[in-house]
């Protein structure tokens, strides 16, 4: 068929986004792969680096350690999150909204903050150190507790979604057939939530194995892959070995990613638009048990965050417990001072703004355009890739690619721009999926109607698609902002003295032994993210409602 002007425009925009993703993802990943098979002088040496890696028992042992903490955390988090999600969706207990909000707190802070909190709670001068009965918090125990805190909300969100799609008609059928609650659970609830649970398990596994903040802060002598990458690069300046460990680290993440995609595809099939939402019945005993359980989890989360808050306000732990803002005088410490906080805000704003535009436009072309099928498929595949790439690996790949003297984009190195590009790329996939889900709910015939009415696609895009998708667009923006504030791994190799960031400052101050200021900076990130989140809720409640009058069903 002949190409219309719309087709040419579509090709043009898809190419631009495609080129962007190639520069921000494909080329750097190629750079890191090739670096892992080169020596220091940049000469190809085959798998020699890998040989020396695998002949170093200390390094190889990290693989076991990484798998160990990841799997244990996965089991604990999924169990805890499943019961929590079950309580939120299938019980009639009081305080669901509050429990849900508390459970989301860990998303708002850098992962390593929970490690810092655990040090205050169980460390050498910790309040509750006796509870460990002689065991050390520095090591796998600390890592696992902190990782459970960090991954809990991620798993919870997925499982809640999976449980809420349970079709009410199935529950009614089970009831009419006089099925016992236990049997209903195993024949109705669990099968419909199965894929969600599996998906959540892989997400948790990937988050833990690629996380480097927590083991860095509380791991002690217990080495894991992600920390090895950091040590090889920052400590020993051994970039080639850093590349090798990165490639090793990609494997489990990639495997988890592939399995998750396969499982996700099955999930779609059981979701039908005709499903009816299940409203649980009141059951006093069950509701009480669930309430107690959720209170217990909430106390755990609030203790961790509360400890940090307290630690950040105590003048000099544990000798002078008077409260003051001494620890918030960041300009007196190393780590970038208040500037790093302002940099983070700027970085988060840029990321949210540009990230949302790129992601939404990309998802729009993938989902809605009629022409260039191959281009769209490639674009979609590339958009799914970042999920499988650990932030640390992406950051290292950026060094290899952008810092290469022959790269015309070399000027980006050490600027705010490269931090923004890296962060957008790092969090691309989830945003892409959010946009895609929202776009899929919009009738595909809109584009066809417009072209039959001889309207260019961008008119439909701006007048119809964007207004309808505003909630999703805000959601993506917030997601980018919050994650840009908290991320350490993607940016730790890329910041310069002028672009120091708050999350990195937490890491560096902790490294330098300034744990209280580190906690204080972490809390600054928390305050900011919480404020943004609250403002977001107000916006969606008040303003969006006014602009989205058409959503209401009432006939005037």
């Amino acid at each position: 068929m002949k190409k219309s002007r719309d087709d040419y425009l579509t090709i043009f925009f898809i190419s631009i986004i495609g080129i962007y993703i190639f520069i921000a993802l494909a080329f750097p990943m190629y750079a890191i792969l090739s670096k892992s098979v080169e020596n220091k002088d940049g000469i190809f040496i085959g798998f020699e680096n890998y040989q020396s890696y695998f002949s170093n028992p200390a390094l190889v042992y990290s693989i076991y350690n990484s798998l160990f903490v990841s799997i244990i955390t996965m089991v604990i988090t999924i169990t805890l999150a499943f019961i929590f999600a079950y309580a939120l969706t299938k019980s009639r207990m009081a305080g669901k909204g509050i429990f849900r909000s508390i459970a989301m707190i860990p998303i708002l802070v850098p992962s390593l903050l929970s490690g810092i909190s655990l040090i205050y709670l169980f460390g050498k001068q910790g309040i509750f150190r006796e509870l460990l009965m002689g065991y050390e918090i520095y090591g796998p125990i600390g890592i696992i507790i902190a990782e459970v805190f960090y991954t809990f909300p991620h798993a919870l969100l997925i499982i809640i979604t999976a449980l809420s799609i349970g079709d009410a008609r199935l529950y009614e059928a089970a009831k009419v057939l006089r099925s016992k609650p236990i049997r209903t659970f195993f024949t109705v609830t669990l099968p419909s939530a199965k894929y969600g649970v599996i998906s959540a398990a892989f997400v948790v596994f990937t988050l833990v194995i690629t996380d480097f903040g927590i083991p860095k802060v509380i791991g002690g002598q217990f080495n894991v892959l992600a920390v090895d990458v950091y040590k090889q690069v920052i400590g020993q300046q051994n970039f080639e070995m850093g590349a090798v460990v990165s490639v090793v680290l990609i494997f489990p993440a990639l495997l988890a990613f592939v399995v998750d995609r396969i499982v996700q595809r099955k999930q779609v099939a059981i979701l039908t638009s005709r499903s009816v939402v299940h409203e649980p019945n009141k059951n006093k005993n069950f509701d009480t048990i669930m309430f107690i359980y959720c209170s217990f989890i909430s106390v755990f989360i609030l203790t961790i965050i509360g400890m940090c808050l307290y630690a950040s306000l105590v003048t000099f732990w544990p000798y002078n417990l008077t409260l003051s803002l001494t620890n918030y005088q960041f300009d007196l410490m190393d780590g970038g001072g208040w500037d790093s906080y302002y940099n983070s805000i700027r970085m988060a704003c840029y990321t949210a703004f540009f990230g949302t535009i790129v992601v939404f436009a990309g998802a729009y072309f993938v989902e809605k355009s009629r022409s260039v099928k191959t281009g769209r498929t490639i674009l979609h595949l590339l958009s799914m890739m970042p999920m499988a790439i650990p932030g640390l690996v992406l950051g290292l790949a950026y060094i290899f690619f952008f810092n290469h003297p022959d790269n015309p984009l070399n000027f980006l190195y050490g600027t705010m721009a490269i931090l923004v590009i890296c962060t957008i790329t790092h969090f691309y996939t989830v945003s892409h999926l959010t946009a895609l889900t929202s776009l899929k709910q919009i009738d595909n015939e809109f584009e066809h109607v417009s072209s039959s009415l001889k309207q260019p696609f961008y008119k439909t895009f701006f007048k119809v698609t964007v207004p309808i998708s505003l909630p999703a667009i805000f959601e993506i923006g917030i997601y980018f902002f919050v994650n840009a504030m908290t991320t350490v791994s993607a940016v730790v190799f890329l910041y310069s003295s002028k672009t120091n960031l708050a999350s990195v400052a937490v890491l560096n101050m902790d490294d330098a032994g300034d744990i209280a200021p580190a906690a204080a900076m972490g809390m600054m990130i928390f305050y900011t993210n919480a404020a943004v989140r609250i403002v977001y809720v107000l916006i969606t409640k008040k303003i969006l409602v006014r602009f989205q009058k058409w959503r209401t069903k009432t006939t005037s």
Binding site: M1, K2, S4, R5, L453, Q455, V464, P467, Q548
Partner: protein
């Protein structure tokens, strides 16, 4: 009358699956054509090919003496109404209808006037500022129609436009769309799986099955002169029998000999007879009279449908008949009543299998 649209030898493959097999037909200017068929027969694909939303693998499409085979949809001249209506939910009724009017740099007054005109046409003038979520299904349907008609397209395409509506609304809109189409004289192609819809609305029906055109013709023709067993069965209700040729005007069904007014050519054939053509006979001297037992009576209002087990010579067979309700009640015919029915020679039609 002039041929407005001609579709020639269209083939469409989806991978190995052939959705359209050498489909050709013409549409005259101002004609209302229904493409009818069961789901999966390729009718929607055909409509989308005509609109340019799918590209055909082979074949030509000519509209208004212009080859449009390779043109993208926005360079073809048509308006379309989808089953889902696809009304823009965030735009008012007015802005939905005006959506296609705005590129041509028409001034506001002209656009407003045209919108008013269309709203009057579909009888929704009071709803101009509402959103689609505030309208009933039937009203949304009419807005979609007004939007499609706004730029005065040469061809109107309707993709199952009524199937999402309640039965009553559907019947009402059926007439309304037909009248509107007649009034505007716009050439229209409608896709539907509902034979009743096609029979009542179309000037001509194109009946499709498995990607091929089974038969085309006026609604009356398709009903009374089905060419194939599929046509006979899909349009209306019918009885189908396997038969053997005895002579040019007589055939054998289950061992019994029947007379037939049509010329019989093949040795093995299929014959059909409509339920309403079967009569209860008082006179055993008529032709093609058989004894049978009433197995089931379905009350349909003015009619009663009888399922009769007919005693043919070698084997019994079930036959469906339609009777006036009055007749059945007055004659006290009940389940298990014995009756004689006549399969009159002129009502027996030979069809291709």
């Amino acid at each position: 009358m002039e041929q407005y649209l001609s579709v020639k030898n269209i083939n469409k493959f989806f991978g190995d699956f052939q959705a359209l097999k050498n489909v050709s037909f013409n549409v005259k200017e101002g004609e209302f054509v229904c493409i009818l068929g069961p789901s999966g027969c390729g009718k929607t694909t055909l409509l989308r090919v005509i609109a340019g939303l799918e590209s055909q693998s082979e074949g030509l499409i000519n509209q208004n003496n212009k080859d449009i085979s390779l043109l993208p949809p926005d360079q073809r001249d048509f308006g379309i109404v989808f089953q889902s209506y696809a009304l823009f939910p965030n735009l008012s009724v007015k802005n939905n209808i005006a959506f296609g009017l705005k590129t041509r740099k028409q001034n506001k007054e002209v656009i407003d006037k045209r919108v008013d005109e269309l709203l009057k046409l579909v009888g929704l003038s009071d709803h101009i500022d509402k959103f689609s979520s505030q309208l009933s299904g039937g009203e949304q349907q009419r807005v979609a129609l007004a939007r499609a008609l706004a730029p005065s397209p040469g061809l109107l395409l309707l993709d199952e436009p009524l199937s999402a509506l309640d039965a009553k609304v559907r019947q009402h809109l059926r007439l309304e769309i037909k009248n509107l189409q007649r009034k505007l004289g716009v050439t229209t192609i409608m896709v539907t799986h509902d034979q009743e819809e096609a029979l009542t609305m179309a000037d001509r029906i194109i009946l499709m099955n498995n990607g091929v055109i089974e038969q085309e013709g006026s609604p009356q023709d398709l009903y009374s002169k089905p060419k194939t067993a599929f046509s006979a069965n899909f349009i209306g209700t019918t009885n189908l029998f396997k038969a053997k040729k005895i002579s040019q005007n007589s055939l054998e069904i289950n061992g019994s000999t029947l007379e037939c007014n049509e010329n019989i050519e093949d040795d093995l054939l299929t014959v059909t007879i409509r339920p309403e053509d079967i009569k209860i006979s008082q006179n055993d001297n008529e032709k093609n009279i058989f004894k049978g037992t009433i197995k089931e009576l379905e009350f349909l209002g003015s009619n009663i449908r009888g399922h009769i087990e007919v005693n043919f010579e070698s084997e019994k067979a079930n036959v469906i008949c339609n009777f006036a309700s009055e007749y059945i009640l007055n004659n006290n015919i009940q389940n298990n009543s014995a009756v004689s029915i006549s399969l009159q020679p002129r009502a027996l039609k030979i069809v291709k299998t």
